[in-house]
Symmetry: D2
Subunit: 343 residues, 4 copies
């Protein structure tokens, strides 16, 4: 059955796979020093208009990237600020706390943090005479796009960054699905812009056409000892080539953005199918779509396609998630359209 369950339910994009095939018989250095990792870094450097201070590392997954970067950026006594719906707060099994750091939560506006709420929180915190008795804010974490499929405007993100700079807090952007945000209709953020407006971010590969791999970027340079931190977190690949080769392919001929645009286009067509059927859909310009279904509707669709429950809403409705990827085809959407027609 066709699955819209996630963007990690497929193999690699054919071009990524092909590059793995083409390079398989070559020998290489390891632990990040293979030639493809070097090439891929150069290509990411170019695509992000990074200067020579910038550092790039390849890790295997999102939770790992989040825990490693946050642990490296924070002194022991400090905490990460995130929204209540942030991946690090909800779906990482306490991986941040496992490194000794609290996650301080601010309200989530469909996944987004508001700069003014961040400012108000920090202002109140540092004016509290007992602030030294609390976990001290040490960085700000946002996701782009968010867990709810929404994106920030450049202005919104810049406002957050301005607050961060005012309080000398690094801004870290989790880009596990970054491409889908950059390619969303109405997005006024580019990779170079992003690199110029934060202290760390990563370009997700696992959910954007690779088998695994996230490219962690520090536009102004990595924190001291970061290589050792990666190793210490069990995040250093011996055969680092597997990340290098894949990102080399993803950043050749704009593949990363093409994959992302394709998935977003498919998601927008999916939205129309839901909307035309009179279903309630959450606002999302990216590859994750969230639809309210009652039990009967859910069961009817489940006969034809696979998808995941997101969260219960009330006694009647539950929110369900439908996700597109590089692999989503016209035929897949037709199957979904037919399924919707049975409602």
């Amino acid at each position: 059955m066709i699955s819209f369950e996630s963007d990690y339910n497929n193999g690699a994009h054919p071009k990524v796979l092909q590059h793995l095939i083409d390079t398989n018989s070559e020998q290489s250095a390891s632990y990040g020093y293979d030639r493809w990792s070097q090439q891929a870094k150069e290509k990411i450097r170019l695509a992000s208009q990074l200067n020579s201070n910038a550092d790039i590392f390849f890790l295997t997954g999102g939770t790992q990237a989040n825990a490693t970067v946050i642990d490296a950026l924070l002194p022991s006594y400090a905490a990460a600020i995130a929204t209540t719906t942030a991946h690090i707060n909800v779906h990482e099994s306490g991986a941040i706390e496992a490194t000794g750091h609290k996650v301080i939560t601010l309200p989530s506006h469909q996944g987004r943090m508001h700069a003014d709420e961040l400012h108000a929180y920090l202002n109140a915190f540092f004016n509290d005479p007992t602030w030294e008795h609390m976990a001290v804010p040490g960085l700000v974490y946002v996701t782009f796009p968010t867990e709810m499929g929404t994106i920030y405007t450049a202005e919104e993100l810049e406002d957050i960054h301005i607050v961060c700079k005012h309080y000398q807090l690094p801004l870290f952007i989790d880009g596990a699905r970054m491409g889908y945000g950059l390619m969303a209709e109405g997005c006024d953020i580019t990779l170079p812009w992003l690199a110029a407006h934060c202290e760390a971010f990563y370009i997700g590969g696992t959910k954007v056409g690779a088998l695994c791999g996230e490219a962690v970027v520090f536009p102004k340079g990595a924190p001291r000892g970061f290589f050792t931190m990666v190793k210490r977190h069990g995040a250093l690949l011996a055969k680092s080539r597997i990340a290098g080769v894949q990102f080399d392919a993803l950043f050749t001929d704009n593949l990363y953005m093409d994959i992302s645009r394709h998935a977003v286009n498919m998601a927008m067509r999916m939205r129309k199918l839901f909307a035309n059927a009179g279903l309630t859909i959450k606002d999302s310009p990216t590859n994750q779509q969230f639809v309210l279904l009652n039990q009967q509707q859910q069961q009817a669709l489940s006969k034809h396609v696979l998808f995941e429950p997101w969260e219960p809403v009330d006694n009647v409705y539950t929110l369900y998630r439908f996700v597109t990827s590089w692999a989503t085809t016209d035929d897949d959407l037709q199957v979904l359209a037919n399924a919707i027609n049975t409602l």
Copy 2:
């Protein structure tokens, strides 16, 4: 100037101090094996009607006791559930997270957790198909009395314990100010009742007449390796006698309860002073009183007595805390009364 800032702004209760003086020239074993620690444990055992499985340890402070007990009760992957206003969530500098554990928060009702909200949370959690991807609830933490000075009824606390038992989660009660709760008017909870309705609790000494010291009690026995955990947390006193002697005094001739009752009585008289002056006071039957004051009122009172801001409420009012202790005298209250009369 008279200080109502806290219940740790005085020395030891005279009887506690006297016992330290009387025993000072005797030699003793160390690390918990001194004779006064043994005696004090026996007295606490009796006062709490503990059976022979119970274990008691003396630590020096509240944050330390919380971190050590929670770290010992939780497997690595598990989290503590607490209210948003819980001391472990707000005022311990991330000490729980420093041991690798997330603090999951539920709403605070004037400091109290509601059993039905706990139940709803746990029910939803374990019905979420992705629960294994999240920090798994591993214990429930409540404070008695709460940070807001309120107390639980026996029924409310029993309801929480029933939910805990249903989900096989230990219930841990932070009793940094336990005496003030037990001696509060209307309190239907006793030390033996408490010991029978949780898996761990502590009897606070620092804030109830001692120089330092908290008696951690595990009514059904301590988790394996707890002694080593205490040492590992830097919480093992070489001269353990200082805690032993003090608790020996506190649990002789009902001193602990007498100290607590005195402070509560003083606090109730303080409430009347505020109420008679038409000031808004939060509901609290214990030794901490919370009063709304505008800037003018605050400044007027500050000329005569010391007290602490608790939290801003709106543009006009701030909540202030006034605390009594074993050392609060009639004269102190008269000074406060005179100060209030100037408003």
Copy 3:
């Protein structure tokens, strides 16, 4: 230039790669529930003669597997016992300590732990009246084969396991290069034997023909919450299929053992080349060979092949490592032979 630097300087074994290609276009469940992971587990179960209590998990790398398993097996206050040369003690950037656990070291006999020294240590430890003031031994960690290329006999390993059982300590066997041990000449240990003589082990894929992946096996069942521990360590692959598919291939038609036997055979031929040239080689029946070279010899060989320094020995000699893998060919050995002939 031909590289003998490591067994992770090549891509995947062609059959492993082919299986990735063949399955790439299929959709799958994620986070360990894909069909190939299930298949691969069944094949490992069969090859190891595991019973139905056994649990298997796929992680991406060795350091990650070590940290996750050790953190899951140990209570907070406990330590892992290992040799001084153990990978977890030397080359994991403190990944075990990062989880809060001490590594207690015993002497290394060419990488091996001696059962009698383990016994003597534990006997002394638990007879020390201050043992509760120390990090308490909580498990025993050995590598098979060891970091020095040596292996244990069944009797040696069983003796260690007997000591472990006497002290109720789980035995955990790091098998990052397990195949090369099992296929070594004179090895009297099999996969089923190993599974019956420890509480946890892993079958390394990264260094034995896969692109990445280690199969962690708990013959008597995983510690509670292990799935969440994997996630918490950033070790849970969203596209778990990449490990599943590779292990599915490795455990089809005995491929894992064939790869291992090939590399061992090549290493034995390499030994002869060194021996015939009068060079001093360390005793190792597996795919890693350690050779003493002076500077002149090192420079001469370096003109023809790549290899790594292991450790300085004296003013004249340094120990160098030469490693074979599935990819080592007759031609590669001929290049090495020619290079040796120039000495």
Copy 4:
């Protein structure tokens, strides 16, 4: 029975106790801001000739001070270097590792680290091409006096400090028994000299006349966020006055040094008693004496005085520890002398 078991088997020195009595009825600020803490800091500042950059904090115990300071000085990926016999390596239940940091060990020369071995280790470490794969040395920890009762000369300690500075590693000196070192015959180190030759040290109170308390000194200023680190480690006393008052007494009229000198004198007389009886004593100029006794001798002495086994030496002899303190009297030594005479 007279106990020579430890220097924490007595109450407080009478002058320390008297100051607690004299100040008990005064109100004070808390969490370090009480007047006695401020006074005590000034006196320590003077006694140590600290400049205005220096920071001083009072913690309750040695293990706690070690874990808090080391955790604050090290970045996450770094390790502490210590001797194999160091307190942090042996007798702190893994408290350092609990903060995520490895303890790297160098040989112990009767408790002392040798500067040349430290230098050789660091030189080898940073020349190892794989150093980034290992826990990176981040500070050097020594004890003064050592766990074996020995002391460093100024030259020895300065040599260690020179190596530290060369590698930009802070030097941290555990002074749990500092006074006994400073007052040892032949000691050419003073408090001001010490403060000028390290980045952090503490002046132990618990073992030198106080009920509890260690004064942590950062001569060049505390690491950022140290107050919060203290709280986070459960090491912040609400009634901080108990440490402040005690150190105020200890640093009035040279009491700290007088106590120390007394105990050292008593220990030297004790040495003579052992020596005259032909017993083998370890070299120690401080208040801890280590004596070899066979079982018969141990049993004979045990009828008259209490003392502790230190470590087994061979089949016949065990090393025992005898400790003096402020409380050791002429009469106590006479009892010991009589006991020795029965051998």
